[in-house]
Structures are given as C-alpha cells and as structure tokens.
C-alpha cells in the first residue's frame, strides 16, 4: 500500500509531461489554423514558421497555446481528447457496432485467446516430451532456445497471405501467429520448471520406489507451477502482439490492429491512441487474470507459506 502515492505521483507526472509535450507538437497546426481565421501570429507566414523552433513558436504566441490542447487530428492528441474518444467508442456505442472499440477488441482478443490456448497446450506437451526423452532434449531444446533470438514476428504477413491463398481466413491465421509466438516461451519456462526439483527430492522419490508417472505427477508437475505461470504471462503478452500484427498485412477491417492501420492511413491520431490504450487494457487484463490464477493456485498449494 505504501507505494500507492509514488505510483500516483509518477502517473501524474506522465500526464503533465504529455500536456506539456502537446504544446510544441501541435503549435504549428494551431498557428496555421489561427492565421486562416484572421488572428495575428508572430512569424506571419507559414514558410517562416516552418524553420522556426517549435518551443520558440509557443513562447512567442502564448495566446494560441490553449488551441494546441484541444485540436482535431492533432499530431499529439491530449489525454482528455484520447479518453473522450475512448469513452465515446466503448461506453456510448453499442458493442455490436463496427465503430465500437469493444467490438474490435473482442475480435483481437478471441484470436489471442485461441492462439494462446493452442500455443500453451502444445508448449507444455513438448516440454513434457523434452524432459522425458533425452534424444528430444538434445535435438529440440537448442532450437527452441535459439528460436527466441529470431524475430519470429516477421513471418506474420506470410502466414496470413499463405493461409488466405489456401482458403483459410478470419480467426485461425491470426490465432496461429499468436500460438507460434506464445509457444516457445512456454516450452522454455516449462522445461525449466519440470527440471526444478533437485537431486535430493528425486532421490527421495526413488527410495519410495515411485514410478516415472508418479514422479511426474507428484513432484515435477507441482514444482513447475511457478515457472508455468511466469511463462504463461509472457506467452499471453506475446500472443496479443501476434494477433495485432497479424491484422496488419491484409488490411483487415476489424480488430485493434486494423484500427491502428486505418488510423495511420487517415491521420486519425485519436483513433490510434485509443486503440493503443484498448490494447494496453486487454494486455493488462490478460496478465492480471493469469496473475490472479497464479496467486490462488499457489496459495492452495502452499507455496506462500
């Protein structure tokens, strides 16, 4: 609880910095607009202003600063405009409407969840295989680790287009990218977890004459739980990024990635920022839910005692 005040201070500082940055970012457009409306601005023509320093411009035209904070299609929309856009597109719209951000977020979230489920299940299965089969361990594990250094996201456009050309569209291609991205973190984390019991504990089970199955279910699996949840969190965040990037290449019309792309095509900066915040809320929600499950499970298992 004692960190609430510092966190709020940091957040407040971010908001203040944001407003402060909006002034020089938007001053040029504001002055051009003011000039058109017949107001007097300090360097009179647009050409003179183009080479001038943005902060200097703001200082020479203090009366036009309020206009920078409340601008349509601003280069940097101010927080209250972004949040009014968020409010308008979430609470004020019906969630079935194509203008509703909830609708777009659900499209992305459904692909994320499907992909995450596939990736996590396959990842755990491969990890179990790696732990129990030496040949698999020696041949697959180095590649699983090496693949984390590769920018896998680069293949996203290709997967979308290839699956499109064989007639698979919609949810599944995006989910496959999500699955692929969440797969490797889960494998690596889970292998680490299943191997975390030390030699003493394994020896103890051997003195009990426990079979490999019993060892797995009674020792390895419970020991791997903290590692599993940590890697699931990483995997969920990666899956969301995969789903968003998966929406870019086909110029999709639905989903958060599509909102980002459309916003950048038409210069609708508020739309981009609100999509970004929606993505942030979805990511935070996913990680938060997994964290909650982690706390409940680990309390039940007695890890925190």
């Amino acid at each position: 609880m004692r960190s609430v005040v510092p966190i709020l201070t940091v957040l407040l500082a971010i908001v203040i910095l944001w407003y402060a940055a909006a002034v020089p970012m938007n001053i040029r457009t504001a002055l051009t607009q003011a000039e058109r409306d017949g107001a007097i601005v300090a360097p009179a023509t647009r050409v003179e202003r183009r080479d001038a320093n943005a902060i200097g411009l703001a200082l020479r035209n203090p009366s036009h600063i309020p206009a920078t904070l409340d601008q349509e299609r601003a280069r940097l929309p101010t927080p209250h405009r972004v949040f009014s856009e968020l409010w308008n597109t979430t609470v004020m719209k019906k969630i079935t409407s194509k203008r509703s951000l909830v609708f777009h977020a659900w499209i992305t979230l459904s692909a994320t969840l499907l992909g995450f489920a596939i990736g996590a299940v396959l990842g755990i299965a491969l990890a179990v295989g790696i732990v129990h089969n030496r040949a698999m361990d020696m041949s697959v594990m180095p590649w699983a680790i090496a693949s984390q250094t590769i920018p896998i996201l680069a293949i996203a456009p290709m997967i979308i287009v290839v699956l499109n050309s064989v007639g698979i569209q919609g949810l599944l291609p995006k989910a496959m990218i999500s699955a692929y991205l969440s797969f490797f973190p889960v494998v690596v984390g889970m292998v680490k977890g299943l191997r975390s019991p030390d030699a003493m504990q394994l020896d103890q089970l051997r003195t009990y004459n426990a079979s490999r199955t019993a060892t797995f279910f009674k020792l390895r699996l419970p020991a791997s739980v903290p590692y599993l949840f940590t890697s699931l969190k990483i995997g969920a965040a990666a899956a969301l990024i995969g789903a968003i990037v998966g929406e870019l290449p086909t110029g999709a019309v639905r989903g958060l990635g599509a909102r980002l792309l459309a916003g950048s095509y038409y210069g609708q900066t508020e739309q981009i920022w609100s999509a970004l915040f929606a993505a942030a809320f979805v990511a935070a929600g996913l990680v938060g839910i997994i964290g909650l499950f982690q706390r409940i499970t680990m309390n039940q298992m007695g890890f925190n005692r």
Binding site: W143, T149, L256
Partner: protein, 282 residues
C-alpha cells in the same frame, strides 16, 4: 511417392541415430552435444525439401529450401541493403540510444526510494504492453526513414532495460555496502567498484532480452511505412507479389542477424561477468 518415402526414411534414420547417441555414454561429450541438434536441423531441411518436391507444393505456399538458398545467393546485394537499412540504421541505433538512456535513467532512479517505488510498477506494466502499437504514431512523427524505426525500438526496449538496471543496482548486499563504507568510499566509488559490477548479470539480461525486441520493433515499424528498402518493407511487398522465396530469404537474414546479435551480447557477457556462477566453466 519416392520423395515422400525418402523423407520418411531420412526422418526415421536420423532420429534413430540421435536417440542412440543421446542415450549412450557419448552424450556427455562436446561434439555430440553439437552434432545432435545440427543433425536434427539438417533432417528438418531435408524432409522439408523432399515433401515439397514429393507433393509438388506450389511456390506461393511453401518454397523448398534449395529454392530459398538460390534466391538468397542471387539477391545478396538487395538483402545486404535491406539489412543495413533495418538492422544497422534502425535496430542498432535505436538499441544503443534506448539501452543507454534506460541505463542512465536507471542510475538516476536508483538514488531515490520514492521514484523507485513509483516507477518500477509502472515500468513493469509498460514492459508487458504491446508497445509495437506505437509504431504508426512514431512513423507519423519522424517520417518514413530509419529515424522512426529507431524511435520505435527506443520506446520498446526502454522499460525492460530500466527494470533490469534498477533491479541490478539493488543486488549488492547490505554487508558489502557496509564494507565499502568502512573503507570510507563515497557514492561514486561504491557505484563503480561495487554496485555496477554486481549489477552486470541483470544489465546483460536486459541487453539480451532487448536485442531480440530491437529487431522485431524495426521490422514491424516498417509495415506502417518505409522507404523502398528495408527488411520489413521487402517482406510485406514480396508477400503481396506472392514471391515467397524472397520472403523466406529475408527471414533467413533476420534469423541470422538476430542470433548473431544475441550471440555477440552473450559473448561480451561471458567476458564481463566471468565471476558469476552461471558463467563458470568446470
């Protein structure tokens, strides 16, 4: 049919050999630990080649490795130009700026308990967000050139690096700090002689995580607008032309660049943190 049978034979044979080596006493030796994964990789390539030929998979779905290799060899000048644009100009400059800024900021944050308690949860939260989404905004601000890609990289890697730096600086124990105090060492000698060296494993952990993020950021940012050169640009346009051999060649470049970059950072780590238990060689 012959190709498919050959593929199956190769798969079974290589797997048999691998499990023989893995389950024998040879597995402890260094060459075996290298040979087994390499054989597995080669097997995958051979099976891929045979299956593509056997089933006559069209180029627009999956090109054979040999086709990709030919394309790679034929287009080296384009691939090199893309590599320079995306990796050297975009990813590497962003990496240096981002990691440097986060490191210096981390040292500043470390001086204040209040800032630490406020910034760490916020940074941890930010590090989990899909920051790639800032790419369209930054492309709008900094134009289509490499500068906007470097900016995306800076934003993406700043928070993971900051978290690792701050955690690392907290690593030196109270006992060690007390010892420095008995020597009469002030803040700066303590920082340089004790706390920074103790922080190095964490800092290198951050540097390794962000080395992967940097390349991803630079490539994805190019999907939102780029000059007519660059790995992300080439991937998205070649996909549009259904020239999948070019896409795979570009992915090969990305994979090589990514793993070499990571390997280089890991190598420096081994030299710097030779004293750490994870680096000791028996």
């Amino acid at each position: 049919m012959i190709w498919l049978a050959f593929a199956a034979a190769i798969w079974v044979g290589a797997w048999w050999l691998n499990s023989r080596i893995a389950n024998s006493a040879l597995a402890r030796q260094r060459w075996a630990q290298l040979f087994v994964p390499v054989l597995f990789g080669v097997t995958i390539l051979v099976v891929w080649e045979c299956v593509v030929r056997g089933l006559e998979v069209p180029l627009v779905i999956l090109p054979a490795p040999s086709v990709i290799a030919v394309k790679f060899a034929a287009e080296t000048s384009i691939l090199w130009a893309d590599f320079v644009q995306t990796f050297v100009k975009g990813a590497l400059s962003g990496y240096v700026i981002g990691c440097g800024a986060a490191f210096l900021f981390g040292i500043l944050v470390d001086r204040s308990q209040f800032l630490q308690r406020g910034l760490l949860p916020v940074s941890n939260f930010m590090a989990a967000l899909p920051i790639v989404g800032t790419a369209p905004i930054l492309v709008m601000w900094y134009g289509f050139g490499w500068q906007s890609k470097a900016a995306v990289v800076v934003v993406m890697i700043f928070f993971p690096m900051l978290v690792n730096t701050v955690q690392g600086l907290a690593e030196a124990s109270a006992m060690q700090r007390d010892l420095m105090r008995t020597y009469g060492a002030g803040y700066w000698p303590t920082l340089f002689k004790l706390r920074l060296p103790a922080a190095m494993p964490f800092i290198f952990n951050g540097l390794k995580i962000t080395s992967t993020l940097a390349l991803i950021g630079a490539i994805v940012a190019e999907f939102f607008g780029s000059p007519i050169v660059g790995m992300g640009f080439r991937i998205s346009t070649s996909v549009g032309q259904l020239a999948l051999d070019m896409v795979w060649a570009e992915i090969t470049v990305a994979a090589i660049a990514g793993s070499l970059f990571y390997g280089a950072v890991a190598l420096i780590e081994r030299e710097v943190t030779f004293w750490h238990p994870s680096q000791r060689r028996n």
